[in-house]
Amino acid sequence: MTAIAPPQPLELRATIRAEVAAASRVVAPLWPIGTFIAVNPLGGLQASSFEEAVRTARRDLGARGYPSLREARAGHASGAVTDAQLADALAEAVDGLDDLPPVAGVPAARLLLADLLHAPPAPGPERLQTVAARWDAVLGTTIAGQVDELVAAWCAAFTDEGVAGWGIPRDPGGLYATFRVLAGDDSRVGRLAGPGVRDKLRALPDDPAAAIVAALERLGVGAAQRGDELRAQLLRQPGWAGYLRWRSDWAPADSTSPPADLTDLLAVRLTCEALGVRAARDRAAVAATGLPGSRRVASAGADPNARLAAACDTLGIDGDALTADDRARALALLARLGEDDRGAIWLAARERAYRDDLLAALDRAPVAARARGEGRPAAQLVCCIDVRSEGLRRRLEALGDYETLGFAGFFAVAIRFRGLGAAAPAALCPVLLRPAVDIEERPAAGGEAAAAEALDRRSGELAFAEAFHHAKSGLASPFALAEAGGLLAGPLAVLRTFVTPSRSRRPGAWPATTVTATADEEGDPGFTTAEQVRFAHAALTMMGLTGPFARLVVLCAHGSHTRNNPYAAALDCGACGGQRGGPNARVAAAILNREPVRAALAGRGTVIPDDTWFVAAEHDTTSDAVTMLDRELVPAGHREELSRLEADLARAGLALARERAARLPGGGPAAARGRDWAQVRPEWGLAGNAAFIAGPRSMTRGLDLGCRTFLHSYRAEADPDGSALETILTAPLVVAQWINAQYYFSSVDPELFGAGDKTLHNVTGTVGVVQGGGGDLRVGLPWQSVAVGDRLQHEPLRLLAVVQAPLARIDEIVARNQVLRELFGGGWVSLAAREHDTSPWFRRDRDGRWSHHRSKEAAA
């Protein structure tokens, strides 16, 4: 047999980089906090089923993937989950349940139900251990924790991007190269590595992948264990790892910043661990005898005897009197349901309850409300699919002959937008897309002087803020600042904490501006007419808005207005890259008002009447006020209708604000919460999200869906080839699932998948938040975004997709798209559909089989 030649250095380094990339799938990318994007924390495991991914997260990360038994049982006690729904979920989870032999005359199903309802929970899971953590257990040291702290500090310093008063000199080679050059001056590294730290650092390889190889060798990790070790290392710091993954995989190309990727991070981590372990072993005079302890600390399940005792108590059986056979049979039966299985059954039961209620409600959608009439509506309002839009649409429709539609809030225009006076452009589109063109906001004609004045004013304010910031972070200046401004700043801070301003602070009048949607020969960036026609046609077809058109069609984007809130972007538009969507609405309206675009659309069968005007607007989701944008462009003949619509939108917004405020602790005017700098919960955002509905508004009009559903307009008859539905399912649905998964996991494991308590957060650079003085970046949503006290506000349910379209068309689309095969086939999203308004509902199982959905009434 020929011996396999050892890999050459270049090959080994390439192998390491690829293995790091593969290992990185255990952490989700983490966007900078200013453009917070909701992601599925287990998205890297999406090729597995949901249950398998949760099992992996439990085993490797020590994470919980299901709502706690306490919460699940509380739902049952409140009637949110019925006995029948729980029994159905159990029967679906346990093959041949009815055929299993009884225990002491009690059917197996009853015993397992008693276990689900009353047995004690299992202890918390453990996590994958790094080599240093294993040595810590042997030597009584804290190397792994020290390395966590050290590496977090180096990451924060390296990625600071100029926010800190004193930045570190970054080596052009990147994070690892900088560490290698400077770490000799870091006393923490010295304490970890012991004497001669500078020589040890100098002896390290130049290349980070080579450094990983060297460190793994010193730690005694062989090729077969490498993947586990790399994952274990990344999982010690999922926040920083996620941020660096974002930089590598998602960030726009940046040739100005030195690189920092996961290979760098692991090179620094493993180098520190290797130095620390070596020094600790030297101190303890422990010879190298391979790896100590166990890679994984197994998670013990709940004590089977305690579970059996609890079930027996519930059923009125004397557990001590069970025969040996019965006892063995009972324990074997209980062993069929591990902790994850019990969680999965409870989750399935709760989802079943929500699905049954929602489909029953859709069946009962008021017939009168459906028949809005055939003529032109008083106005049409196209909102983002965001769950908060459901309330605005419902409230507005109740006030008049309005038609509302749902569409992704970037309105099909993927732009890189530079606002007037903005330092840098922002990508306003779903992160699944790259912006197609640059759009710049400019002063409106005749408003140049006012704009210059406003920009001067803003520059002055920014300069003052910058000077204040620098004075705070200088060497001696903080003392002078405290002397000069302390007397004023202290009382002001107290005042701002206890007194909410009565109106938003505005930097004086902001000038009228314009956005140019069309590229021209003078070099103005924008879309070509052909691109505009393509996107306009796609958007109108996707939402089924092909006529009749109202005289006013409002494209209503959304954004939030809050103060002192690092998570402000989490409340903005996910379809606009975590930004406010107003600019997209302005560009889309400008495109749809262009005569050449309308002429081309007419050629494709969509005739927009000459008297139809598209106007942009923005829904402030904190106050639920709607503001028209570019109002001055609206033709004089439409102004009166616009005023009526604005008045109705104001009434609708007010009613919605009251409705949403009732769900917030403390109540109070919604707008005031946004202005309050001490408010940790300005609004609930997308908490409660549970379903994505693609279909005509006639499915849902007149129903109160409680701001829990993403509503995407779709008319199957306007989409004969299914391309519009394919786009809806492969983009808006995918983004909705990310949001849903972010809320789900932030709720079920707020420590590992959520950002913890907001009141303890400190912002680091422009990157994210840490809890307290340092440590790992926090991922996910803060506890205040999903809960009040110890009570969850967000009900963690996986997304339910509800589609009104031919089932065969759905099957074809799923079959040709892997992302949908994974989402539906893996149980990340469940799917219910019907062909048209009056046909029955069908549910699609993970294998793609449709089964008739029995309504609650029929089931009863």
């Binding site: 390439a14 590598s248 897309l433 796609a538 079959a815 798209n817 095969r821």
Partner: protein, 107 residues
């Protein structure tokens, strides 16, 4: 110039999911690759089933084809890296002999 006067090189074609494109590009860069061609939104049938290639609003879910040409001495590192990636991630690679007229572009 006849074919035999052209300089022999190795051609590498890689098909991966959109989300793995950055990894492949990183491997290219680390191996000293000086240029590549990228074809996004490709469709095709593989052992995971069919892959749609014309997704309007999702550039991440579709497959991409990356093509590069390198001298013999660089292909080993690229193949080693891609093999390690494909141990965990879906994707295929094809390596073949090719010839180029301006070898300095590929070194």
């Amino acid at each position: 110039m006849s074919v035999t006067e052209l300089t022999p090189m190795q051609k590498l074609e890689v098909v991966v999911g959109g989300e793995d494109v950055p990894v492949v590009r990183d491997l290219f860069a680390q191996a000293g690759v000086t240029g590549w061609t990228s074809v996004e939104n490709v469709s095709g049938l593989g052992h995971d089933g069919f892959h749609q290639g014309r997704l309007l609003f999702n550039e991440r879910a579709a497959l991409a084809l990356l093509i590069t040409v390198v001298p013999e001495e660089r292909i080993g590192a690229l193949v080693a890296g891609l093999r390690a990636l494909f141990d965990e991630r879906p994707g295929v690679m094809f390596v073949s002999e090719t010839r180029v007229s301006r070898p300095e572009y590929f070194r």
